[in-house]
Amino acid sequence: MIVFAAMAVSNKNIMRSIIYLLFVLIGMAAIYFMIEFYFLGAVQLTVYAGGIIVLYVNSIMLVEKINNPLPSAALWRRMLAGFLSSLGIVLTLFAIWSYDFAVVPANQAKEIEIHDIGIALLAYGNHGYILPFEVISILLLAAMVGAIVIAKTNKHNEIANK
């Protein structure tokens, strides 16, 4: 997964890096399945690996010439970015490995079913998540309307320009 992620950000061909990104997303879904969050793994596969990747591929085919190699940043810039991000990796890993997590052993945990997630999403009691659920629905609606507006106004401008 790490190798695929590294290739996704460093490959010159944008179509290939999309496919590597797809492999990373499928690996994430595999981790979700391994820790027995089946609903989350399924959502990851359908929304990311199914929807978002297809969206990317479509827009690339609309916009880009696929055979053109991507322009890459200057060498010192890449060196600086690589140095800074490896510094960040080292610092974060040091913080993680020196912290003592209170891991709950597996036999004490109860299985989380899909209907638990559904009930928690719509509950308005103590452990309910109805408010973020509504907020996210408004956000999705706003994003949809916004995308339509962006697509429309420019078309009017083009007609006006003609």
């Binding site: 950000v9 460093s10 391994m34 989350l40 990851q44 969206l55 690339i60 810039r77 891991v103 994003a143």
Partner: protein, 105 residues
């Protein structure tokens, strides 16, 4: 939880993917490629939520639900950003960040 794999190893994986995403975001010069790096960053954050939920608080649901929200936000953000990018390409005929300096066309 996965038997034989501790929380530290999975957190290591998600940390490395996060910083690979940051590296890609800084070095890429194409708008779509930068968006892909953002996807990597969001994914590793969602993975962290789920892992903490599973290993530390296995009887609660917060992490799983929040990563569902992260996925929804990422989907909305990607759709909007791609709409903007395609329109920008129609106007400027380019997606390189060096060419896109003006804010208002």
């Amino acid at each position: 939880m996965i038997s034989g794999i501790s929380i530290y190893e999975i957190l290591t994986v998600s940390t490395i993917i996060f910083f690979i995403g940051i590296y890609g975001f800084v070095t890429r010069k194409n708008l779509i490629a930068m968006l892909m790096s953002i996807e990597l960053i969001l994914n590793s954050a969602a993975l962290n939520f789920v892992i903490f939920n599973k290993y530390l608080f296995p009887n609660e649901l917060g992490g799983a639900i929040f990563s569902i929200f992260i996925i929804a936000v990422a989907a909305a953000e990607t759709a909007l950003a791609l709409a903007i990018i395609i329109n920008l390409y129609r106007l400027m005929m380019s997606l390189k960040t060096d060419d896109l300096e003006t804010m208002k066309y």
